[in-house]
Amino acid sequence: MMTNPARRITQGQFSFLPDLDDVEIGQQIDYGLRKGFAWSVEYTDDPHPRNTYWEMHGMPMFDLSDAAGVLQEVRECRRAFPGHYIRLVAFDSTRGIESVAMSFIVQRPADEPGFRLLRQEGPGRSMRYTVQGYAADRPESQRY
Protein backbone atom coordinates (compact mmCIF):
# COMPACT_ATOMS: atom_id res chain seq x y z
CA MET A 1 0.00 0.00 0.00
CA MET A 2 1.20 3.49 -0.72
CA THR A 3 1.99 5.68 2.31
CA ASN A 4 0.83 9.04 1.04
CA PRO A 5 -2.19 10.52 2.87
CA ALA A 6 -4.62 9.28 0.19
CA ARG A 7 -3.07 5.79 0.37
CA ARG A 8 -3.16 5.55 -3.42
CA ILE A 9 -2.00 7.07 -6.68
CA THR A 10 -3.23 10.66 -6.62
CA GLN A 11 -3.40 11.45 -10.33
CA GLY A 12 -6.51 13.10 -11.76
CA GLN A 13 -8.98 15.66 -10.44
CA PHE A 14 -10.57 13.76 -7.55
CA SER A 15 -8.12 11.27 -6.03
CA PHE A 16 -8.32 12.84 -2.57
CA LEU A 17 -12.10 12.41 -2.39
CA PRO A 18 -14.03 9.19 -1.73
CA ASP A 19 -14.46 7.27 -5.01
CA LEU A 20 -17.15 8.84 -7.20
CA ASP A 21 -20.15 6.60 -7.75
CA ASP A 22 -21.69 6.36 -11.22
CA VAL A 23 -24.25 9.09 -10.49
CA GLU A 24 -21.44 11.47 -9.52
CA ILE A 25 -19.37 10.41 -12.53
CA GLY A 26 -22.41 11.14 -14.69
CA GLN A 27 -22.62 14.66 -13.24
CA GLN A 28 -18.99 15.33 -14.17
CA ILE A 29 -19.61 13.98 -17.66
CA ASP A 30 -22.62 16.29 -17.99
CA TYR A 31 -20.52 19.26 -16.95
CA GLY A 32 -17.99 18.45 -19.68
CA LEU A 33 -20.71 17.93 -22.28
CA ARG A 34 -22.25 21.32 -21.41
CA LYS A 35 -18.82 22.84 -22.05
CA GLY A 36 -18.62 21.13 -25.43
CA PHE A 37 -15.85 18.69 -24.51
CA ALA A 38 -15.47 15.24 -26.08
CA TRP A 39 -15.07 12.40 -23.56
CA SER A 40 -12.71 9.49 -23.93
CA VAL A 41 -12.15 6.36 -21.83
CA GLU A 42 -8.54 5.27 -21.27
CA TYR A 43 -7.04 2.38 -19.31
CA THR A 44 -3.58 1.19 -18.32
CA ASP A 45 -1.60 -1.18 -16.13
CA ASP A 46 1.37 1.22 -16.14
CA PRO A 47 0.34 4.32 -14.17
CA HIS A 48 3.86 5.83 -14.14
CA PRO A 49 3.53 9.61 -13.60
CA ARG A 50 5.00 10.26 -17.02
CA ASN A 51 3.18 7.54 -18.92
CA THR A 52 1.15 9.94 -21.03
CA TYR A 53 -0.44 7.45 -23.38
CA TRP A 54 -2.86 5.18 -21.61
CA GLU A 55 -4.68 2.79 -23.97
CA MET A 56 -7.74 4.26 -25.67
CA HIS A 57 -10.93 2.29 -25.11
CA GLY A 58 -12.30 3.35 -28.47
CA MET A 59 -12.12 6.79 -30.01
CA PRO A 60 -13.00 10.02 -28.19
CA MET A 61 -16.80 10.31 -28.30
CA PHE A 62 -17.01 13.50 -30.36
CA ASP A 63 -20.63 13.10 -31.36
CA LEU A 64 -21.99 11.73 -28.09
CA SER A 65 -23.95 14.29 -26.10
CA ASP A 66 -25.48 11.96 -23.53
CA ALA A 67 -23.81 11.12 -20.21
CA ALA A 68 -25.46 7.70 -20.15
CA GLY A 69 -23.65 6.74 -23.35
CA VAL A 70 -20.28 7.75 -21.93
CA LEU A 71 -21.00 5.86 -18.70
CA GLN A 72 -21.86 2.81 -20.80
CA GLU A 73 -18.35 2.96 -22.31
CA VAL A 74 -16.87 3.20 -18.82
CA ARG A 75 -18.80 0.10 -17.73
CA GLU A 76 -17.68 -1.85 -20.79
CA CYS A 77 -14.08 -0.90 -20.13
CA ARG A 78 -14.43 -1.99 -16.49
CA ARG A 79 -15.80 -5.36 -17.61
CA ALA A 80 -12.93 -5.85 -20.07
CA PHE A 81 -10.22 -4.66 -17.65
CA PRO A 82 -11.44 -5.23 -14.10
CA GLY A 83 -8.01 -4.80 -12.50
CA HIS A 84 -6.68 -1.84 -14.50
CA TYR A 85 -6.61 1.87 -13.93
CA ILE A 86 -9.36 3.55 -15.95
CA ARG A 87 -9.73 7.30 -16.42
CA LEU A 88 -12.15 9.62 -18.14
CA VAL A 89 -10.49 12.31 -20.22
CA ALA A 90 -12.27 15.31 -21.75
CA PHE A 91 -10.88 17.11 -24.79
CA ASP A 92 -11.54 20.78 -25.50
CA SER A 93 -11.08 21.72 -29.17
CA THR A 94 -11.47 25.48 -28.57
CA ARG A 95 -8.84 27.43 -30.51
CA GLY A 96 -6.03 28.37 -28.15
CA ILE A 97 -6.79 25.46 -25.79
CA GLU A 98 -6.91 22.30 -27.93
CA SER A 99 -5.90 20.04 -25.10
CA VAL A 100 -7.21 17.96 -22.24
CA ALA A 101 -9.67 19.89 -20.07
CA MET A 102 -10.61 17.27 -17.46
CA SER A 103 -9.15 13.97 -16.34
CA PHE A 104 -10.09 11.74 -13.42
CA ILE A 105 -9.75 8.12 -12.41
CA VAL A 106 -12.95 6.03 -12.43
CA GLN A 107 -11.46 2.64 -11.55
CA ARG A 108 -8.27 1.53 -9.86
CA PRO A 109 -6.89 -1.83 -8.76
CA ALA A 110 -7.71 -3.04 -5.26
CA ASP A 111 -4.04 -3.13 -4.38
CA GLU A 112 -1.81 -0.23 -5.43
CA PRO A 113 1.82 -1.09 -4.68
CA GLY A 114 3.13 2.29 -5.91
CA PHE A 115 6.62 3.19 -7.08
CA ARG A 116 10.21 2.77 -6.02
CA LEU A 117 12.71 5.59 -6.36
CA LEU A 118 16.06 4.51 -7.77
CA ARG A 119 19.00 6.80 -7.06
CA GLN A 120 22.15 6.75 -9.09
CA GLU A 121 24.88 8.76 -7.36
CA GLY A 122 26.81 11.12 -9.61
CA PRO A 123 29.79 13.43 -9.12
CA GLY A 124 29.50 16.39 -6.76
CA ARG A 125 26.71 14.79 -4.75
CA SER A 126 24.43 15.06 -7.78
CA MET A 127 21.89 12.33 -8.33
CA ARG A 128 19.95 10.79 -11.17
CA TYR A 129 16.49 9.62 -10.24
CA THR A 130 14.32 6.90 -11.73
CA VAL A 131 10.72 6.29 -10.67
CA GLN A 132 9.72 2.69 -11.28
CA GLY A 133 6.36 1.03 -10.64
CA TYR A 134 6.61 -2.10 -8.48
CA ALA A 135 3.93 -3.72 -10.61
CA ALA A 136 5.68 -2.72 -13.85
CA ASP A 137 8.30 -5.44 -13.33
CA ARG A 138 5.75 -7.99 -14.44
CA PRO A 139 4.78 -8.36 -18.11
CA GLU A 140 1.91 -6.42 -19.64
CA SER A 141 -1.54 -7.66 -18.61
CA GLN A 142 -0.12 -9.52 -15.59
CA ARG A 143 0.51 -6.45 -13.49
CA TYR A 144 -2.72 -6.04 -11.58
Binding site: N4, F16, G124
Partner: protein, 489 residues
Protein backbone atom coordinates in the same frame (compact mmCIF):
# COMPACT_ATOMS: atom_id res chain seq x y z
CA UNK B 1 10.75 82.40 -24.42
CA UNK B 2 11.86 84.39 -27.39
CA UNK B 3 8.52 84.78 -29.11
CA UNK B 4 4.88 85.25 -28.28
CA UNK B 5 2.98 82.07 -27.61
CA UNK B 6 0.47 81.44 -30.32
CA UNK B 7 -2.42 79.12 -29.77
CA UNK B 8 -2.58 75.86 -31.70
CA UNK B 9 -0.07 73.80 -33.62
CA UNK B 10 2.52 75.82 -35.51
CA UNK B 11 2.51 74.61 -39.09
CA UNK B 12 4.84 77.17 -40.65
CA UNK B 13 8.18 75.34 -40.73
CA UNK B 14 10.32 78.44 -40.33
CA UNK B 15 8.49 79.51 -37.17
CA UNK B 16 8.28 75.97 -35.90
CA UNK B 17 12.00 75.29 -36.08
CA UNK B 18 13.49 78.64 -35.12
CA UNK B 19 15.62 78.28 -32.00
CA UNK B 20 13.90 78.62 -28.65
CA UNK B 21 11.28 77.02 -26.49
CA UNK B 22 7.77 76.16 -27.65
CA UNK B 23 4.84 74.53 -25.99
CA UNK B 24 4.80 70.76 -26.60
CA UNK B 25 1.25 71.07 -27.86
CA UNK B 26 2.48 73.46 -30.52
CA UNK B 27 5.28 71.20 -31.66
CA UNK B 28 3.03 68.44 -32.98
CA UNK B 29 2.65 66.26 -29.88
CA UNK B 30 -1.03 67.22 -29.51
CA UNK B 31 -3.12 65.95 -32.40
CA UNK B 32 -6.81 65.90 -31.47
CA UNK B 33 -7.79 64.83 -34.99
CA UNK B 34 -5.36 61.91 -35.08
CA UNK B 35 -6.90 58.53 -35.92
CA UNK B 36 -4.78 55.87 -34.16
CA UNK B 37 -3.62 53.19 -36.58
CA UNK B 38 -3.80 49.42 -36.03
CA UNK B 39 0.00 49.34 -36.00
CA UNK B 40 0.45 52.05 -33.34
CA UNK B 41 1.41 51.35 -29.75
CA UNK B 42 -1.31 53.03 -27.70
CA UNK B 43 -0.88 54.20 -24.13
CA UNK B 44 -3.23 55.56 -21.54
CA UNK B 45 -1.51 57.73 -18.95
CA UNK B 46 -3.09 59.11 -15.80
CA UNK B 47 -1.48 62.50 -15.33
CA UNK B 48 -1.65 65.04 -12.52
CA UNK B 49 -0.46 68.38 -13.94
CA UNK B 50 1.14 70.92 -11.61
CA UNK B 51 -1.17 73.75 -10.69
CA UNK B 52 -1.61 76.13 -13.59
CA UNK B 53 -0.42 73.64 -16.21
CA UNK B 54 -2.97 73.06 -18.94
CA UNK B 55 -3.88 69.34 -19.13
CA UNK B 56 -3.56 69.31 -22.92
CA UNK B 57 -0.08 70.78 -22.71
CA UNK B 58 0.80 68.25 -20.00
CA UNK B 59 -0.43 65.38 -22.19
CA UNK B 60 1.52 66.70 -25.14
CA UNK B 61 4.59 66.96 -22.93
CA UNK B 62 4.22 63.29 -21.95
CA UNK B 63 3.95 62.37 -25.63
CA UNK B 64 6.99 64.49 -26.41
CA UNK B 65 9.24 63.31 -23.60
CA UNK B 66 8.39 59.65 -24.23
CA UNK B 67 9.21 59.96 -27.93
CA UNK B 68 11.33 62.51 -29.78
CA UNK B 69 11.19 65.77 -27.88
CA UNK B 70 13.61 67.61 -25.72
CA UNK B 71 12.93 70.83 -23.82
CA UNK B 72 13.86 73.14 -26.67
CA UNK B 73 13.51 73.24 -30.42
CA UNK B 74 16.35 71.50 -32.28
CA UNK B 75 17.02 72.08 -35.98
CA UNK B 76 18.25 68.47 -36.37
CA UNK B 77 14.58 67.37 -36.25
CA UNK B 78 14.46 68.59 -39.83
CA UNK B 79 16.93 65.92 -40.93
CA UNK B 80 14.31 63.30 -40.04
CA UNK B 81 10.74 62.42 -40.89
CA UNK B 82 10.05 63.90 -37.47
CA UNK B 83 6.31 64.29 -37.97
CA UNK B 84 5.96 60.50 -38.04
CA UNK B 85 8.26 59.85 -35.07
CA UNK B 86 6.44 62.22 -32.74
CA UNK B 87 4.12 60.43 -30.36
CA UNK B 88 0.69 62.00 -30.54
CA UNK B 89 -1.62 62.74 -27.66
CA UNK B 90 -5.04 62.56 -29.24
CA UNK B 91 -7.44 62.69 -26.31
CA UNK B 92 -7.43 64.15 -22.80
CA UNK B 93 -10.30 63.68 -20.36
CA UNK B 94 -10.72 64.33 -16.64
CA UNK B 95 -10.54 61.14 -14.58
CA UNK B 96 -14.10 60.43 -13.43
CA UNK B 97 -14.49 61.53 -9.83
CA UNK B 98 -11.16 63.37 -9.66
CA UNK B 99 -10.45 67.12 -9.53
CA UNK B 100 -6.84 67.16 -10.61
CA UNK B 101 -6.15 63.96 -12.60
CA UNK B 102 -6.59 63.47 -16.34
CA UNK B 103 -6.47 60.49 -18.67
CA UNK B 104 -4.23 61.13 -21.67
CA UNK B 105 -4.34 58.84 -24.72
CA UNK B 106 -1.09 58.75 -26.68
CA UNK B 107 -0.18 56.89 -29.89
CA UNK B 108 3.33 55.84 -30.90
CA UNK B 109 4.48 54.82 -34.37
CA UNK B 110 5.68 51.22 -34.63
CA UNK B 111 9.07 52.31 -35.98
CA UNK B 112 9.91 53.87 -32.61
CA UNK B 113 10.47 50.44 -31.09
CA UNK B 114 13.02 47.67 -31.44
CA UNK B 115 11.43 44.36 -32.33
CA UNK B 116 11.17 41.84 -29.50
CA UNK B 117 12.67 44.12 -26.84
CA UNK B 118 10.79 45.01 -23.67
CA UNK B 119 13.83 46.96 -22.48
CA UNK B 120 13.51 49.20 -25.51
CA UNK B 121 9.74 49.61 -25.24
CA UNK B 122 9.97 50.52 -21.56
CA UNK B 123 12.93 52.86 -22.12
CA UNK B 124 10.60 54.92 -24.31
CA UNK B 125 7.29 54.64 -22.55
CA UNK B 126 8.50 55.01 -18.96
CA UNK B 127 12.06 56.19 -19.54
CA UNK B 128 12.25 59.89 -18.70
CA UNK B 129 8.76 61.11 -18.52
CA UNK B 130 7.85 60.07 -14.98
CA UNK B 131 10.21 62.63 -13.45
CA UNK B 132 9.05 65.46 -15.65
CA UNK B 133 8.62 68.64 -13.57
CA UNK B 134 5.35 70.03 -15.03
CA UNK B 135 3.64 66.87 -13.76
CA UNK B 136 3.01 66.20 -10.10
CA UNK B 137 2.48 62.56 -10.91
CA UNK B 138 2.09 60.23 -13.85
CA UNK B 139 0.93 56.66 -14.19
CA UNK B 140 0.90 54.35 -17.18
CA UNK B 141 -2.54 52.78 -16.79
CA UNK B 142 -2.71 50.58 -19.86
CA UNK B 143 -1.02 49.87 -23.15
CA UNK B 144 -2.22 48.35 -26.43
CA UNK B 145 0.52 46.49 -28.26
CA UNK B 146 -0.30 46.11 -31.96
CA UNK B 147 -0.37 42.61 -33.42
CA UNK B 148 2.54 43.55 -35.67
CA UNK B 149 4.65 44.19 -32.59
CA UNK B 150 3.28 41.24 -30.58
CA UNK B 151 4.50 38.90 -33.33
CA UNK B 152 8.11 40.00 -32.76
CA UNK B 153 8.01 38.52 -29.24
CA UNK B 154 8.26 34.81 -28.51
CA UNK B 155 6.25 34.97 -25.30
CA UNK B 156 6.00 32.29 -22.61
CA UNK B 157 8.46 29.45 -23.23
CA UNK B 158 5.90 26.84 -22.12
CA UNK B 159 2.52 28.48 -21.59
CA UNK B 160 -0.28 27.23 -19.40
CA UNK B 161 -1.69 24.68 -21.85
CA UNK B 162 1.61 22.89 -22.41
CA UNK B 163 2.46 23.17 -18.73
CA UNK B 164 -0.66 21.20 -17.87
CA UNK B 165 0.20 18.57 -20.46
CA UNK B 166 3.72 18.20 -19.06
CA UNK B 167 2.46 17.97 -15.50
CA UNK B 168 -0.54 15.77 -16.39
CA UNK B 169 -2.87 17.97 -14.32
CA UNK B 170 -6.15 19.12 -15.80
CA UNK B 171 -9.50 20.60 -14.85
CA UNK B 172 -8.53 22.12 -11.53
CA UNK B 173 -6.28 24.88 -10.19
CA UNK B 174 -2.76 23.77 -9.31
CA UNK B 175 -1.72 23.87 -5.68
CA UNK B 176 1.50 25.27 -4.31
CA UNK B 177 3.14 26.55 -1.19
CA UNK B 178 6.08 28.78 -0.43
CA UNK B 179 8.60 27.29 1.94
CA UNK B 180 8.67 29.09 5.27
CA UNK B 181 10.48 30.53 7.10
CA UNK B 182 11.73 32.19 3.95
CA UNK B 183 15.19 32.72 5.39
CA UNK B 184 17.37 30.68 7.72
CA UNK B 185 16.62 27.04 6.94
CA UNK B 186 19.56 24.80 6.06
CA UNK B 187 19.36 22.85 2.82
CA UNK B 188 18.51 19.67 4.68
CA UNK B 189 15.69 21.26 6.70
CA UNK B 190 14.43 23.08 3.65
CA UNK B 191 14.08 19.86 1.68
CA UNK B 192 11.99 18.40 4.52
CA UNK B 193 9.35 21.09 4.03
CA UNK B 194 9.33 20.43 0.27
CA UNK B 195 8.89 16.67 0.73
CA UNK B 196 6.09 16.98 3.28
CA UNK B 197 4.15 19.50 1.21
CA UNK B 198 4.40 17.55 -2.04
CA UNK B 199 3.71 14.15 -0.55
CA UNK B 200 0.73 15.66 1.27
CA UNK B 201 -0.88 16.57 -2.04
CA UNK B 202 0.51 19.83 -3.38
CA UNK B 203 1.70 20.03 -6.99
CA UNK B 204 4.41 22.59 -6.40
CA UNK B 205 6.57 23.98 -3.67
CA UNK B 206 8.34 27.28 -4.07
CA UNK B 207 11.46 29.16 -3.08
CA UNK B 208 10.74 32.62 -1.82
CA UNK B 209 11.88 35.72 -3.67
CA UNK B 210 14.81 36.47 -1.42
CA UNK B 211 16.15 32.92 -1.24
CA UNK B 212 19.18 32.97 -3.51
CA UNK B 213 22.47 31.79 -2.03
CA UNK B 214 22.93 33.01 1.50
CA UNK B 215 25.41 31.90 4.17
CA UNK B 216 22.86 29.58 5.82
CA UNK B 217 22.08 27.77 2.56
CA UNK B 218 24.07 27.91 -0.63
CA UNK B 219 22.13 27.38 -3.82
CA UNK B 220 23.68 24.06 -4.82
CA UNK B 221 22.84 22.57 -1.46
CA UNK B 222 19.25 23.75 -1.76
CA UNK B 223 18.85 22.38 -5.26
CA UNK B 224 20.23 18.94 -4.32
CA UNK B 225 18.02 18.50 -1.25
CA UNK B 226 14.95 19.94 -2.95
CA UNK B 227 15.24 17.64 -5.95
CA UNK B 228 15.60 14.61 -3.68
CA UNK B 229 12.37 15.69 -1.99
CA UNK B 230 10.62 16.28 -5.32
CA UNK B 231 11.53 12.87 -6.72
CA UNK B 232 10.73 11.07 -3.49
CA UNK B 233 7.31 12.73 -3.39
CA UNK B 234 6.69 11.88 -7.02
CA UNK B 235 7.37 8.20 -6.32
CA UNK B 236 5.20 8.33 -3.20
CA UNK B 237 2.17 9.73 -5.05
CA UNK B 238 2.55 8.70 -8.68
CA UNK B 239 2.22 12.34 -9.73
CA UNK B 240 4.57 14.75 -11.46
CA UNK B 241 5.78 17.19 -8.80
CA UNK B 242 7.87 20.33 -8.95
CA UNK B 243 9.56 22.97 -6.86
CA UNK B 244 10.36 26.42 -8.19
CA UNK B 245 14.12 26.64 -7.85
CA UNK B 246 14.94 30.34 -7.64
CA UNK B 247 17.87 30.86 -10.02
CA UNK B 248 18.07 34.63 -9.42
CA UNK B 249 21.71 35.64 -9.00
CA UNK B 250 24.02 38.61 -9.14
CA UNK B 251 24.98 38.21 -12.80
CA UNK B 252 23.57 36.58 -15.90
CA UNK B 253 26.41 34.06 -15.64
CA UNK B 254 25.26 33.07 -12.15
CA UNK B 255 21.66 32.78 -13.34
CA UNK B 256 22.60 30.52 -16.24
CA UNK B 257 24.81 28.37 -14.02
CA UNK B 258 22.00 27.84 -11.51
CA UNK B 259 19.41 27.16 -14.19
CA UNK B 260 21.71 24.64 -15.86
CA UNK B 261 22.17 22.77 -12.58
CA UNK B 262 18.40 22.72 -11.98
CA UNK B 263 17.99 21.20 -15.43
CA UNK B 264 20.67 18.58 -14.84
CA UNK B 265 18.89 17.50 -11.65
CA UNK B 266 15.63 17.01 -13.55
CA UNK B 267 13.61 19.97 -12.26
CA UNK B 268 10.58 20.83 -14.40
CA UNK B 269 10.62 24.49 -13.36
CA UNK B 270 12.91 27.35 -12.41
CA UNK B 271 12.06 30.68 -10.83
CA UNK B 272 13.17 34.22 -11.46
CA UNK B 273 12.54 37.45 -9.55
CA UNK B 274 11.20 40.49 -11.39
CA UNK B 275 14.04 42.57 -9.96
CA UNK B 276 16.54 40.93 -12.33
CA UNK B 277 15.27 43.23 -15.08
CA UNK B 278 13.77 42.91 -18.53
CA UNK B 279 16.78 41.74 -20.49
CA UNK B 280 17.60 39.04 -17.95
CA UNK B 281 13.98 37.89 -18.05
CA UNK B 282 14.04 37.68 -21.84
CA UNK B 283 17.37 35.84 -21.75
CA UNK B 284 15.93 33.27 -19.38
CA UNK B 285 12.79 32.93 -21.50
CA UNK B 286 15.04 32.04 -24.39
CA UNK B 287 17.07 29.60 -22.28
CA UNK B 288 13.89 27.95 -20.99
CA UNK B 289 12.58 27.43 -24.53
CA UNK B 290 15.79 25.67 -25.43
CA UNK B 291 15.63 23.44 -22.35
CA UNK B 292 11.90 22.61 -22.01
CA UNK B 293 11.68 24.46 -18.73
CA UNK B 294 8.78 26.31 -17.10
CA UNK B 295 9.67 29.80 -15.83
CA UNK B 296 8.02 30.98 -12.63
CA UNK B 297 8.08 34.76 -12.26
CA UNK B 298 7.87 36.21 -8.77
CA UNK B 299 6.89 39.87 -9.08
CA UNK B 300 9.27 40.94 -6.32
CA UNK B 301 9.40 44.72 -6.04
CA UNK B 302 6.44 45.54 -8.25
CA UNK B 303 4.40 47.28 -5.57
CA UNK B 304 6.98 50.07 -5.41
CA UNK B 305 5.59 51.27 -8.73
CA UNK B 306 2.24 49.51 -9.25
CA UNK B 307 0.39 50.19 -6.03
CA UNK B 308 -0.22 53.93 -5.92
CA UNK B 309 -2.93 55.01 -8.26
CA UNK B 310 -1.51 58.43 -9.03
CA UNK B 311 2.04 57.48 -10.00
CA UNK B 312 3.87 54.53 -11.50
CA UNK B 313 2.92 51.69 -13.82
CA UNK B 314 -0.24 49.63 -13.45
CA UNK B 315 0.27 45.93 -12.91
CA UNK B 316 -1.89 45.24 -15.98
CA UNK B 317 0.86 46.87 -18.03
CA UNK B 318 3.52 44.83 -16.22
CA UNK B 319 1.52 41.67 -16.96
CA UNK B 320 1.37 42.54 -20.66
CA UNK B 321 5.10 43.18 -20.82
CA UNK B 322 5.82 39.95 -18.93
CA UNK B 323 3.61 37.89 -21.24
CA UNK B 324 5.51 39.30 -24.20
CA UNK B 325 8.90 38.90 -22.50
CA UNK B 326 8.13 35.25 -21.82
CA UNK B 327 7.24 33.93 -18.38
CA UNK B 328 5.01 30.92 -17.69
CA UNK B 329 3.85 31.71 -14.14
CA UNK B 330 3.11 35.19 -12.86
CA UNK B 331 1.99 36.27 -9.41
CA UNK B 332 -1.11 38.31 -10.19
CA UNK B 333 -2.84 38.78 -6.85
CA UNK B 334 -5.43 37.01 -4.72
CA UNK B 335 -8.10 39.66 -4.13
CA UNK B 336 -9.01 37.86 -0.87
CA UNK B 337 -5.54 37.46 0.67
CA UNK B 338 -3.15 39.68 2.60
CA UNK B 339 -1.79 41.69 -0.34
CA UNK B 340 -3.28 44.62 -2.26
CA UNK B 341 -5.95 43.85 -4.84
CA UNK B 342 -9.48 44.90 -5.74
CA UNK B 343 -11.27 41.77 -7.08
CA UNK B 344 -12.32 43.26 -10.45
CA UNK B 345 -8.92 44.86 -11.01
CA UNK B 346 -7.19 41.57 -10.18
CA UNK B 347 -9.48 39.71 -12.59
CA UNK B 348 -8.29 42.18 -15.24
CA UNK B 349 -4.69 41.04 -14.63
CA UNK B 350 -5.76 37.41 -14.88
CA UNK B 351 -7.46 38.09 -18.20
CA UNK B 352 -4.28 39.70 -19.52
CA UNK B 353 -2.41 36.52 -18.60
CA UNK B 354 -4.91 33.96 -19.88
CA UNK B 355 -7.08 35.26 -22.72
CA UNK B 356 -6.33 35.04 -26.44
CA UNK B 357 -8.05 38.39 -26.91
CA UNK B 358 -8.77 40.98 -24.22
CA UNK B 359 -11.86 42.99 -25.03
CA UNK B 360 -11.99 46.53 -23.60
CA UNK B 361 -13.36 46.08 -20.07
CA UNK B 362 -13.41 49.28 -18.02
CA UNK B 363 -14.67 47.78 -14.73
CA UNK B 364 -11.64 45.44 -14.85
CA UNK B 365 -9.33 48.28 -15.81
CA UNK B 366 -8.71 47.19 -19.40
CA UNK B 367 -8.91 50.31 -21.56
CA UNK B 368 -8.01 48.77 -24.92
CA UNK B 369 -8.83 45.71 -26.98
CA UNK B 370 -5.68 43.57 -27.04
CA UNK B 371 -5.20 40.84 -29.61
CA UNK B 372 -2.50 38.41 -28.41
CA UNK B 373 -2.00 36.90 -31.86
CA UNK B 374 -1.89 33.32 -30.57
CA UNK B 375 0.91 34.13 -28.10
CA UNK B 376 1.05 31.49 -25.39
CA UNK B 377 -0.81 32.10 -22.15
CA UNK B 378 0.63 32.76 -18.71
CA UNK B 379 -0.53 30.78 -15.67
CA UNK B 380 -1.43 33.34 -12.99
CA UNK B 381 -0.42 32.61 -9.40
CA UNK B 382 -2.50 33.60 -6.37
CA UNK B 383 -0.24 33.80 -3.34
CA UNK B 384 -0.20 35.63 -0.04
CA UNK B 385 -2.45 35.12 2.98
CA UNK B 386 -4.93 32.67 1.48
CA UNK B 387 -6.22 29.50 3.17
CA UNK B 388 -8.44 26.49 2.56
CA UNK B 389 -11.50 28.26 4.01
CA UNK B 390 -11.46 30.64 1.03
CA UNK B 391 -11.41 27.90 -1.60
CA UNK B 392 -14.91 28.67 -2.91
CA UNK B 393 -14.10 32.36 -3.31
CA UNK B 394 -10.83 31.65 -5.08
CA UNK B 395 -12.36 29.14 -7.50
CA UNK B 396 -15.28 31.47 -8.17
CA UNK B 397 -13.03 34.48 -8.82
CA UNK B 398 -10.30 32.81 -10.85
CA UNK B 399 -11.55 29.53 -12.33
CA UNK B 400 -9.28 26.56 -13.06
CA UNK B 401 -6.25 28.14 -14.69
CA UNK B 402 -4.39 29.44 -11.67
CA UNK B 403 -1.83 28.22 -9.16
CA UNK B 404 -3.21 28.67 -5.64
CA UNK B 405 -0.37 28.99 -3.18
CA UNK B 406 -0.97 28.42 0.48
CA UNK B 407 2.34 28.95 2.28
CA UNK B 408 1.36 29.71 5.86
CA UNK B 409 -1.92 27.91 5.13
CA UNK B 410 0.02 24.68 4.58
CA UNK B 411 3.09 24.91 6.79
CA UNK B 412 1.25 26.53 9.70
CA UNK B 413 -1.35 23.75 9.92
CA UNK B 414 -1.68 22.42 13.49
CA UNK B 415 -1.41 18.82 12.25
CA UNK B 416 1.80 19.41 10.32
CA UNK B 417 2.78 20.16 6.75
CA UNK B 418 1.32 17.01 5.17
CA UNK B 419 -1.96 17.62 6.97
CA UNK B 420 -1.93 21.20 5.70
CA UNK B 421 -1.41 19.98 2.14
CA UNK B 422 -4.22 17.42 2.51
CA UNK B 423 -6.59 20.11 3.77
CA UNK B 424 -5.89 22.28 0.74
CA UNK B 425 -6.12 19.44 -1.78
CA UNK B 426 -9.37 18.09 -0.34
CA UNK B 427 -10.85 21.60 -0.18
CA UNK B 428 -9.88 22.13 -3.81
CA UNK B 429 -11.15 18.82 -5.15
CA UNK B 430 -14.47 18.99 -3.29
CA UNK B 431 -15.07 22.53 -4.55
CA UNK B 432 -14.24 21.68 -8.18
CA UNK B 433 -16.50 18.64 -7.96
CA UNK B 434 -19.35 20.69 -6.45
CA UNK B 435 -19.01 23.46 -9.03
CA UNK B 436 -19.09 20.93 -11.86
CA UNK B 437 -22.18 19.36 -10.33
CA UNK B 438 -23.90 22.73 -10.64
CA UNK B 439 -23.74 23.86 -7.01
CA UNK B 440 -23.63 27.60 -6.29
CA UNK B 441 -20.19 27.59 -4.69
CA UNK B 442 -20.12 31.33 -4.01
CA UNK B 443 -23.02 30.99 -1.59
CA UNK B 444 -22.79 27.35 -0.56
CA UNK B 445 -19.00 27.17 -0.40
CA UNK B 446 -18.63 27.03 3.36
CA UNK B 447 -21.26 24.28 3.62
CA UNK B 448 -19.45 22.30 0.94
CA UNK B 449 -16.17 22.65 2.85
CA UNK B 450 -17.76 21.71 6.19
CA UNK B 451 -19.35 18.62 4.68
CA UNK B 452 -16.03 17.52 3.14
CA UNK B 453 -14.32 18.20 6.48
CA UNK B 454 -16.49 15.61 8.21
CA UNK B 455 -14.52 12.93 6.35
CA UNK B 456 -11.21 14.81 6.52
CA UNK B 457 -9.79 15.82 9.90
CA UNK B 458 -6.99 17.99 8.44
CA UNK B 459 -9.57 20.11 6.57
CA UNK B 460 -11.64 20.44 9.75
CA UNK B 461 -8.53 21.58 11.63
CA UNK B 462 -7.75 24.12 8.89
CA UNK B 463 -11.27 25.53 9.04
CA UNK B 464 -11.11 25.66 12.83
CA UNK B 465 -7.77 27.49 12.71
CA UNK B 466 -8.31 29.96 9.84
CA UNK B 467 -11.99 29.74 8.93
CA UNK B 468 -12.77 33.31 9.86
CA UNK B 469 -9.51 35.00 8.87
CA UNK B 470 -10.03 37.63 6.23
CA UNK B 471 -8.16 40.73 5.12
CA UNK B 472 -10.80 43.37 4.52
CA UNK B 473 -8.96 46.58 3.74
CA UNK B 474 -9.83 49.18 1.16
CA UNK B 475 -7.91 48.72 -2.06
CA UNK B 476 -5.66 51.56 -3.15
CA UNK B 477 -5.79 50.56 -6.82
CA UNK B 478 -9.28 50.38 -8.28
CA UNK B 479 -10.36 51.25 -11.78
CA UNK B 480 -11.85 54.69 -12.47
CA UNK B 481 -14.47 54.83 -15.13
CA UNK B 482 -17.80 56.53 -15.71
CA UNK B 483 -20.72 54.19 -16.20
CA UNK B 484 -22.18 55.33 -19.49
CA UNK B 485 -25.70 54.22 -20.48
CA UNK B 486 -24.21 51.85 -23.07
CA UNK B 487 -22.04 50.15 -20.45
CA UNK B 488 -24.75 50.03 -17.83
CA UNK B 489 -27.27 48.46 -20.19
Amino acid sequence: MNRPVEPGVITDAKKRYSAGVLKYSQMGYWAPDYEPRDTDVLCLFRITPQEGVDPVEAAAAVAGESSTATWTVVWTDRLTACDTYRAKAWKVEPVPGSQEQYFAWIAYDLALFEEGSISNMTASLIGNVFGFKPLKACRLEDVRIPVAYVKTFRGPPTGLIVERERLDKFGRPLLGATTKPKLGLSGRNYGRVIYEGLKGGLDFMKDDENINSQPFMHWRDRFLYVMDAVNKASAATGEVKGSYLNVTGATMEDIYERAEFARELGSVIVMLDLVVGWSAIQSMARWAREHDMIVHMHRAGHSTYTRQKSHGVSFRVMAKWLRLAGVDHLHAGTAVGKLEGDPMTVQGYYNVCRESFNARDLPRGLFFDQDWAALRKVMPVASGGIHAGQMHQLLDLFGDDVVLQFGGGTIGHPGGIQAGAVANRVALECMVKARNEGRDIRNEGLDILRTAARACTPLQQALDTWGDISFNYTSTDTSDYAVTPALAA
